[in-house]
Amino acid sequence: MWSLHTPVGTVTLNRAVLLVLFVIALLWPVIGVGDFLLFLGALFLAFGLYGASFDLLYGYTGLLSFGHSVFFGVGAYAATFALMDYGQGAFVGLLVAFLATILIAVGLGLIAVRVKSHGFVIVTILIALIAQRLAETYSGITGGTDGIIVSVPDIWIPLLGEYSVFDPTFRYYFTLGVVLVSLFLMYRLVISPVGLVFRMIRENEQRARMLGYNVTAYKLIAFVASGAFAGIAGALATYINGFINASRFSLIVAGDPVIYTMLGGRSTIVGAVIGAVLIEGAGNYVSQVTDAYQLIVGLLLLVMVVVEPEGLIGLWNRLQRRVKRRVRDSTPTPEVTTDD
Amino acid sequence: MLSVDSIDTYYGQSHILHDVSFEAGTNEVVALLGRNGAGKTTTMRSVMGLTPPRTGTIRFDGTDITGDAPSSIANRGIGYVPQDRRMFPEMTVEENLRMGLGKAPFDPDRMERLFERFPRVGERLDQRAGTLSGGEQQMVAMARALMRDPQLLLLDEPTEGLMPSLIPEIAEITQAIATAGYTIVIVEQNVDLVLDIADRIYLLQNGRIGETVTPEALEQNDAILEEYLGV
């Protein structure tokens, strides 16, 4: 038996830590947190999925997208319209969000992946900015900044019966279920041969092309898959909030998954979820204390980008390695910076 | 003037120069000879600070310049004529010349005097450098390096890639500069030109200095020519 050196990306999280996080997520409603924390838990999981979908594109394929808000927003609105205008259920809403974002992603992807190297990110910014303007302009459809109140019909779960999304515990588990399934699917994608091609593109696009891969097609696949999961995240967030408005399309929202991923650690899928929970969770408390929370987040991101680009998971691994080395060597080692 | 003391230079992980040492005294012309890939251009780039050596020291005029930024090395008075000429293609010839000054002040008289040596450059001051022929670009590159009246001139393959008919002209200019009293380090494939102007020749092979010879000795020694240059 052999193992791949890096089953997922370049930095990985210890299985034990992952298990602990999973158990916490699973038991969150059981340990007696109040309704508000259940609401926040569900919302942050949806944000985490949004971050993870971005990581699929940036962390694995190396394509930095500043236009993910478009998928988040399109998913949210597609689900909203399915529910409000066509009287569909929550699952159909998710499916509609998934399919609508795929459609949009194929269209936008055909523009974005054709552009050379750094052109990609610039086109995605352009897409985000244009979407923002369109969403504000068509306030009749999007509800503008005032938004639309979304009422989600009761959800029927096979074998278990009908539940209301206003039940905080149900809402939490519903979100957790959708997020876990989505994360699992993304994980399967990145460990499939296609995922290997994604990483080859990230590492050396030209070489991947010269080995016979249609790099443009693979980039499009990554873009569309990533967008589709962002769309699901957008729909979930809307179900949880029961509200949607045009600011879903703002550039700031486009930057959110970037922050989650950079903080949590890229090329890990789960890092973005951790990042989202930490940032949004801390924000929820700190913003009650100080108005300057966004300022702190911005500064944190800046420091992260300039000093520790591998994120918290990278920092954790680095600390772990250092501790192990100390234990092994017994003599204290001088300050060593590992260069990976 | 220039003293390079056992430098080792890498491109990424690739170890290009091994323990290379050589010197150029004031008003001396020294040449680096060797086959393609022997490390001549890398040596020049190491001196300029473009690919700084990992170990070893480079002294210019008694000062240690190892690891300095290329711009501060150039502003100490080193003129650099790179391989492939490296014009600023969208600038005019005059602007290309002025770029050669770095932080040094502009001296119109000096530029006029340069045109005596490079008349074709003076005729094309307003032309965009990208539209010049290879030979003309080479002349601009040389004039550009001379704008600041350098204490040391680094010439990397001045006749390379030129049309055969142009080579004698460039060779002649190179000879004229050499006899004008500049301290020069030259890399050149044209063995005859080097034999004519160099005071001393360093032979490179696989990134190492193999031998140091005088032009006279090299001319007589076919074995060395065969070994280092494959002639």
């Binding site: 890096t6 499939s192 296609v194 | -």
Partner: protein, 248 residues
């Protein structure tokens, strides 16, 4: 019967009025080992780019395995059985050595295996590990490619090119920047390949080419100056002259 693997007819490339490659005809038969030499600026790398589709010829055509490939995208050309090894090592630094070769081997069929986990197909793994053993990289399989020495990277570069059993191997200076012992390793690998695959070896190191190949094409100023066996080329006065530029 020997079949023609690669044929170029009147291959020409102009850049802004400068003719980098001028009317080059090449013909390679099955299993041939061809050297392509010439001084700096002779157009060797441009020929490499024109054959592999990295650049499009201004005129002329390239036929590969009997089919016209002029103007196709590089990935279409390489997926037809041409493999390339670059002068500047081009590998996937953060993937392991095994993943590098696995990725090269997957070429084209990754999409049909969307539901599988890469690296679980035993036949593929055996082939990857066999290839890595053949090039003496088997001790490094789990290492990140970026951690390899420069010489081993060049070997990996070669292994990437060999992964898909190519019909034609296009090598651009596989020994550039290598030490003498590293060069020997590559030389040995190339000697082992002789006859099993059609190879074009682009090199500035004339001695290396003379030792390895059956036929040599000499380029000068973008044109074919001479073609023949190593002995014929060595004896050719014109070749001596352009290479060494000594007039007396």
């Amino acid at each position: 019967m020997t079949e023609t693997v690669l044929e170029t007819v009147g291959l020409t490339k102009e850049f802004d009025g400068f003719v980098a490659v001028n009317d080059v005809d090449l013909e390679l038969t099955q299993g041939e080992f061809r050297g392509l030499i010439g001084p700096n600026g002779a157009g060797k790398t441009t020929v490499f780019n024109l054959i592999s589709g990295l650049a499009e010829p201004s005129s002329g055509s390239v036929r590969f395995n009997g089919k016209e490939i002029t103007g196709l995208d590089p990935h279409e050309i390489t997926s037809r059985g041409m493999a390339l090894s670059f002068q500047i090592t081009s590998i996937f630094p953060e993937l392991t050595v095994r993943e590098n070769v696995l990725g090269a081997l997957h070429s084209g069929e990754a999409l049909s295996n969307l539901l599988s986990r890469y690296g679980t197909d035993e036949t593929k793994l055996d082939r990857v590990d066999g290839l890595l053993a053949q090039v003496d990289l088997d001790v490094h399989v789990e290492k990140q490619a970026g951690e390899l020495s420069h010489g081993d990277r060049k070997v990996l570069e070669l292994a990437l090119a060999l992964a898909n059993d190519p019909d034609l191997l296009l090598l651009d200076e596989p020994t550039a920047g290598l030490s003498a012992s590293e060069t020997d390793t590559i030389k040995r690998l190339l000697a082992e390949l002789r006859g099993t695959v059609t190879i074009i070896l682009i090199e500035h190191d004339v001695d290396l080419v003379m030792e390895l190949v059956e036929r040599i094409t000499v380029l000068h100023n973008g044109q074919v100056l001479a073609e023949g066996t190593p002995d014929q080329i060595q004896a050719d006065e014109r070749v001596r002259k352009i290479y060494f530029r000594r007039d007396h």
